[in-house]
Point group: C2
Amino acid sequence: MTFPSILPPREYLGQQQRLVDAELDRLVPPESAPPETIHRAMRYSLFAGGKRIRPILCMEAAHTVCDAPDGVVAAACSLELIHTYSLIHDDLPALDNDDYRRGKLTNHKVFGDAMAILAGDALLTLAFQVLAELPVSGDRRARLIAELSTAAGTVGGMIGGQVADLEGEGKPPDQQLLETIHRAKTGALLRASLRMGAMYAGATEEQYRALSCYGEHMGLAFQIVDDILDVEESSEALGKTAGKDAQQQKITFPAVYGLPTSRSMAEAECEHAHRVLEGFGPRAVRLHELADLIVRRKS
Amino acid sequence: MTFPSILPPREYLGQQQRLVDAELDRLVPPESAPPETIHRAMRYSLFAGGKRIRPILCMEAAHTVCDAPDGVVAAACSLELIHTYSLIHDDLPALDNDDYRRGKLTNHKVFGDAMAILAGDALLTLAFQVLAELPVSGDRRARLIAELSTAAGTVGGMIGGQVADLEGEGKPPDQQLLETIHRAKTGALLRASLRMGAMYAGATEEQYRALSCYGEHMGLAFQIVDDILDVEESSEALGKTAGKDAQQQKITFPAVYGLPTSRSMAEAECEHAHRVLEGFGPRAVRLHELADLIVRRKS
């Protein structure tokens, strides 16, 4: 029975996080499996306190479409594997050169650059292995893999956004470029989270479109809030170096629109997200809650 | 009509290489697609003169099973995408720190470390996208993806072998460790090339096992010859820095067995490979030729 339970939003979120953590633990080879170092490195970043937003959005999308879609948590974990690989590679000295992430030393600070590169590669590879071995029809597995690889790729996907972001450093603030970067860099994978949950659960075309649209709005809201937090919060609260965006002359929402307008924009995206869920009625209660939690988060 | 044509082995190989090159060109976004830098970086290494051994082995495995398996060249290209990503990442300063590959500057020497890391990530991601979008049944696509991701992964796969290799540097030469490293580091992907061709063409269980076994023997033969060439050939002939294995105190076949025994071992693996093809009769003529070409190559 997965119909909205009576757990308050934060407790429910905690429960879902534990579900994702347990599944990730099952999917990733144990630290004792040789070569041990790489499995230790993969697990170090994977279990460093991530909020599991992408897998939880994926699972909630599935639950919104149908009761108890068996095994969706494994599909959802593929998104966290991709997200974690991207963080490990982004933190490398050659890229953002960050020493801390979620309050802990970054992967390469603990395991060295070589192992961090390989651990990222391994998590990326494992994401597709997990999807290829799901207990659903081959057609559905292939469709999930096509969605995830596109969202993580270079054309409108995560890597493309990362490159545009790197190349945008030091350029004059530009609304068009800002949106292009963020739609790709974080938006594509967040939208894919919703889409994959919808696909997994066998959504109708209309349900799929609504969830995808919710994902787009939440992807943008998520990134705007991320940019705002980088300006407003301390490094301690964020668990990573704050103020890096300004220091690296990144194109961000506060840089282009200022803080007050950025805040209203995040709220507006969140409102849009609520609205596209209307057709689902009470089934979408958890997605409504998640939208509010994402926009009001402090780290 | 794909029954052995009358082209001599090297001309046939050249023809197949051109087929692979044309398909890779079709599969990878053009340099003009934004963000342009990443597509330029991906294409730079992809079209840097690779011999296309893995895709050609894949296509030949398919041809050995059935005539003209439509579209197998796209499946075959996924292997070259994985192989190329692994070379780009291996060459990075944090790993093997190589300036030349196939006689050209390595990816990071041209595009910088950040772009080289992302270009590798992008090729790895694209490999799975290509397979997910093949014009065959979903079940077959998922099976191909499971095989490729396992072969490229950490448990007995390419990344696992790479880590064991890094950790083996400076250790005393050891036969068991040597074989473990090479079966994973190069063997798994070469075996996957044969297996994926067999799967694609709908091989029987017996055909699949024979082709997989040929792949294992050729994988080992390929690596033994690679180790020998690193000792015997000049950097100019190899197009990359020769003598690096000894310099980095890598565990290699010549280091463990000496050159003459290593040579006999490569020949023995090749002989085994020929033998397991016997059941295919003349259909396997190109795989027989490839075995000989691989063992007698000079770079």
